[in-house]
Homo-oligomer: 163 residues x 2
């Protein structure tokens, strides 16, 4: 059975800050600002941010890329003893990837009322019929995550008005 | 609104045969035999089979790889007017990727009672709360798909007994 890593409040804050930094990177590239990091033995082994538009890949969400990078870092499709930090509630695809990769713990920021697969629309990470369950902590630095997203969309609207 | 492509019975049979061929390729490489193709304007634009073990990637399911290849072929994350053919019911992750890529039609073979996200555990492709719905046809050449999977696992058990 995979261990669920435990962290101090300070560590949780630090790792989410790194995910927020990834989200800001995405925003600076014109992508919806969502970022993620994966932690193993208290070290960040994968960082990623959304780049669906740049790559024109429907799968290029922060969590999915971070999972693939962590698979490469650990040379294993099983991400036992890891934790994923992501600024927005994972969508259905990313929740499924978290399950498929056996990630034992997920920390996320803002809720995604329209597409969230972890809490809002589905609680996929807690489904007892599946062969893997995930410890989830929601609402970690959610205000900052929301603010970055709101600012991004406000900037887009402002630019549209100028044109 | 994306068009849902329509096919004759013969075309459906042909495209699923191509997906079954991909599944057999996976099996010959020691991977769980699942295959997929994506069709656009009556042509196969992407083929893929499961290679989770070879790549040690939790995300390397046939459907997800096929979606990424189709994104590259069409130079777009939106797979409008396409259809995906896959030998096994998509899992949660792949159902989410199908939604994220706006694939309008999915044909699949065997049901996946333990992990299926399209019919068995969830009906994710028909969720009216999401911004995309998918026309699904289940049970296409399901017996052949099941037989390939059963033979694969029977071979593994036989090899284990020899050792």
């Amino acid at each position: 059975m995979a261990k669920v890593p435990t962290f101090s409040e300070q560590q949780i804050d630090y790792f989410m800050q790194e995910a927020l930094n990834e989200a800001k990177l995405a925003g600076s590239e014109g992508e919806v600002p969502i970022g993620a990091v994966i932690v193993f033995e208290n070290q960040i082994i994968a960082r990623a941010h959304n780049h669906r538009e740049r790559d024109q890949l429907a799968t290029a969400h922060a969590e999915l890329i971070a999972i693939e990078r962590a698979n490469q870092a650990l040379k294993s499709w099983r991400l036992e003893d890891t934790a994923l930090f992501v600024t927005l509630e994972p969508c259905i695809m990313c929740a499924g990837a978290i399950i498929n990769a056996r990630v034992p713990a997920v920390y996320y920021g803002a809720q995604d009322a329209k597409g969230g697969g972890t809490q809002s629309l589905y609680q996929l990470l807690e489904d007892e019929r599946l062969n893997h369950r995930v410890a989830v902590q929601a609402g970690v630095r959610a205000e900052e995550s929301t603010k970055i997203l709101q600012q991004f969309f406000a900037d887009i609207r402002a630019k549209r008005k100028q044109n």
